[in-house]
Point group: C2
């Protein structure tokens, strides 16, 4: 990538290309969508695109990094107002809705690219770790309020809940199951029993 002079133009172009790419990936999936399509949708030439992104994988990486953490702050507020499990279910609903709208395979694609390509995975791990940190704080607060068993390790709880969320979402996308509320109930049943304090 060449040196960029105007950071504001660069930011605008990156958004323009990412938005076009999101539209294309939604329609056809990461591997089916072609760079030519993305260029047409973004109304830039191939050469221009490669000025702002070093590869196709780089685009999906930027999209993933951009989207993650969007709802972290909303979750924190909800956790304090309504309690941890209801807030977590709210977050789960948002997540499952995205899957049903066709982002399901996009998330699977991101996983598979990130697992294979370390230069793509590194920044994603960083923003994932940030989300984990935020949710972990909410777990600790809920433990102090007695909502979550105090013997559970807060960070392990977060990671397990994220894994369950992603696993349920993937399996539903795989089965073409579009009943979002059923998925939320499934997740809630798991979370309640997992977190519940024991005598």
């Amino acid at each position: 990538m060449a040196r960029l002079a105007d950071p504001e133009l660069a930011e605008r172009r990156r958004r323009q290309i990412m938005d076009a790419a999101i539209a294309c990936f939604r329609r056809r999936g990461f591997h089916q969508a072609t760079m030519a399509e993305i260029c047409a949708e973004a109304r830039v030439s191939a050469g221009a695109l490669y000025r702002y992104f070093s590869s196709k994988a780089d685009i999906i990486g930027a999209i993933a990094e951009d989207k993650r953490g969007d709802n972290d702050q909303a979750f924190l507020r909800a956790a304090e107002e309504q309690g941890f499990v209801p807030a977590m279910c709210l977050a789960a609903r948002g997540f499952f809705e995205k899957f049903s709208e066709g982002d399901g395979s996009l998330i699977a694609d991101i996983f598979s690219e990130a697992i294979r390509d370390d230069t793509l995975a590194a920044p994603l791990r960083k923003s994932d770790a940030q989300s984990v940190k935020i949710f972990t704080r909410a777990v600790e607060a809920a433990q102090q309020r007695g909502e979550i068993d105090a013997r559970l390790d807060p960070e392990a709880v977060t990671d397990t809940l994220f894994a369950a969320l992603e696993g349920i979402g993937l399996r539903r996308a795989f089965r073409r199951d579009i009943h979002t509320e059923a998925a939320v109930s499934q997740f809630r049943a798991l979370a309640e029993r997992f977190l519940e304090p024991r005598k």
Copy 2:
């Protein structure tokens, strides 16, 4: 695909190609591995390969179908001898070990291909449903023995445990976390609390 005369030769060729493909996918991932590499590894020409598989996706579909359910019978026996959770953790260990050996991204690839491509997904859904059925029977037996809360829906339990297993495996592959035993413990903690009968 042309009509095949000798079913035994056909089966041998398919195995030969699938084994070569597994080796290539392990080394370089589904999308990085080329058909030329698979042909070289299997010592057949491109034309010969396409006599037995209709596409690259078809190969990964056959591999997934072939591998799934390998351990279902072993699990059933273990569930009766040692109880449900220990047997499930044994299955989990086997699953996580595969992830650590580099099949992690392969499973992510299978998910992402299957979510996008319905002709690939259909047979996979069928064999997945069979595994679910087998594990569901074990859940019912464990409920009658009082190991699992009788109020839980057996099939939902199975699906949730599968989702957790796959989610934990994917996240660990994503984080380059190779501590299999830690993953098993994480899964066991979740499963025990999820399934435990309540007063």
